[in-house]
Amino acid sequence: MNIPISDIVITGSAVISAAGIGTAAIQELVRTGGNALTPMPAEVLGRKGLAWGKTTTFKVSDFMPPLKARKMDRCSQFAVAAAGMALKEAGIDLKATAPERVGIALGSGFCGLANSAEFLSGYFTGGVEGLMPMLFPNTVPNAPASNASIEHGFTGPNVTVVQRFCSAESAFLLACRHIEEGRADVMLTGGADELIPILVRGFAALGQVRGTSAPFGEGCGMIVLESADHARRRGAVIRAAVDHLRTIGMLIPGHEQEGLELLCGPERNCSLVSLSGNAADMPGVMAAVGGIPTMDVGRAIGRSLAMGGTALATLIASLPAGARGLHMATSPEGPCFSIDILGGSPV
């Protein structure tokens, strides 16, 4: 159902991706139409000629001491680092902010799977003696969000969502709701994913690696949502505002047109459309945004399930004040999201 999102603004964002660290890097890559994909090592799938979007420029030591980093899976490292960057851009000093008024709703794709695979490998190769207890806590998909809260010290609502290519968008909706209901003043939201060889082998087994057409990526896109009142009170720079958010689960046979109308809404006057998941392959969605310039960051940095966070952060950074942007995200079996963003301060 279409419900307007009222009085929620965006005051910060951060991206860690194959394009580099920060939103400027991915913006520039998308602007120039380039990509940051690199050759996938032949040993991953036993063949050459494939590409993936590894975040090779991410150095965890730039963000935390090595001893701390060792306790975290790579995805948690992304989330902790991106959360810090986004909070800094938003100008939020957690020492001067009530920690219970700051929360996180993060989308994750295969987070936890890297540790799960490593943990189980120990058992399959060495039996009970091969089990490494230290790996087990990070097998849960909420490890990145929880590690971000532990490291930065915020204790508000904390939730992780896995929902295919719309994992980050689903988290975004949750984050908006927590602010609307007054459960938090500030919500970090977005998506985080880690790319590992066993995951790519799984995709290959499922027939999802075809030539070089489906590069996989990793990284984290983090956005700071804030109640407009809270942002104004602290004199924050407001970078954008959330307008509408629509979602449907799946197009029900016999009710496709109704579903598309609910998702796409009335014709809108926007200047830029961000596409995520398989939105570019959905004729109904593309017809609804026909003629408006689009950007698809997945082509530039590789796709991941929770890359909607990166796509949204890139859209927000790309919108001039007063311009309207639309983020469209769909997954092959559902769900689908459309999010309207207004550039600049709504005031």
Binding site: A143, R201, G249
Partner: protein, 401 residues
Amino acid sequence: MSARRVVITGLGVFCGAAKSAAEFGEVLSSGRSGIGSLDLFDVSPFPARIGSQVKRYDPLDHFSRRESRRLSRSDQFGVIAAGEALRDSGVLGLYSPYDMGVSIGGGAAGMFQGEAWLKAALEGREERPSLLRGILPDQTTTDIARIYRLGGYQGTITTACSSSATAIGWGADLIACGRQKVVVAGGVDTLSLLTFAGFNSLKVVDPEPCAPFSLGRQGISLGEGAAFMVLEDEADALARGARIYGAVLGYALAGEAHHMTAPEPTGAMAARVMRRALELAAVDPLLVGWVNAHGTGTPLNDVVESNAMKLVFGQRAPQVPLVSTKSVTGHCLGAAGAIEAVATVISLNKGLIPQTLNFRGFDPECDLEYCHAGSKISDCRIAMSNSFAFGGNITSLVLSL
């Protein structure tokens, strides 16, 4: 939550202790436990070898051969329990499919099948790729939506052991804010080597059936299952003459920001979430009749939860039963919150407070009322259900008749 009152019009359960909501009610009344031997995979290498497994399960009793191959064990349990709840509510076909959403809490999902693929891959063998299909918990969400033609919101919460409690709160939220008219909300998790080996490696599994809040407890007994509720706006439910089991009055959640596996020891953070849930539900703590505990049976968790009770209820804490139905169902991880919320609603409807089984003796650090001596008759109308998780994720639900 916002103005709309969110009511529960359907219940479904499929777990090691019971294969329907009606059977679950009988189990809770009688104090039977589903914890026993396991044969889903080889547990002989581990010090603790018991759990609450769904026994005598044949997928062909519920699915076609083709569908049973397509769905993981976890997907199957989810589809079965969600289907029971939807049929119980009588809601299918009454609304536009886009007004009906799915909110699930999940955990290891199809890891049981995924493990077979991984083992083969490590040994250089080829296994059926379809074993990987259900490896993410959102597969169950998609399958429930597909099978029951629910075209509205789809979301899968993955906050470990608080997942499905949050999914129920969030499902209620989607109705309260007017985004959906109906949400089937709950959770599912199945036993897998990953979690069984994992908790054993952490040495938090009791070799005997778990004994929450009891002297000499050594930890959890793992379990598996699914539980769902159908949630609706009260006005819509009344208009169609639906049976109303109760209401989701409110919920709260937080991250403790303390430690990935250890709870904040004083219980202050857990107490804060419980208080906040009551505030958001507009419920005076005096009206809470009992609390369905997270109550895993680990030495630390049970003390922390007892401490939190004292902080929330003060001098009244010893009069507010803190009951762990995990002694009946085992700890069903991602599904635990939903199974316990459904247990709470069923018990409220039966006018009873269930018991915490397996008393081994009085622990001076757990000095509240845990109903170790048996279930109790009660006319209370409001109860809470707590869920705590790895990462310091905490959710408290406030439920009423």
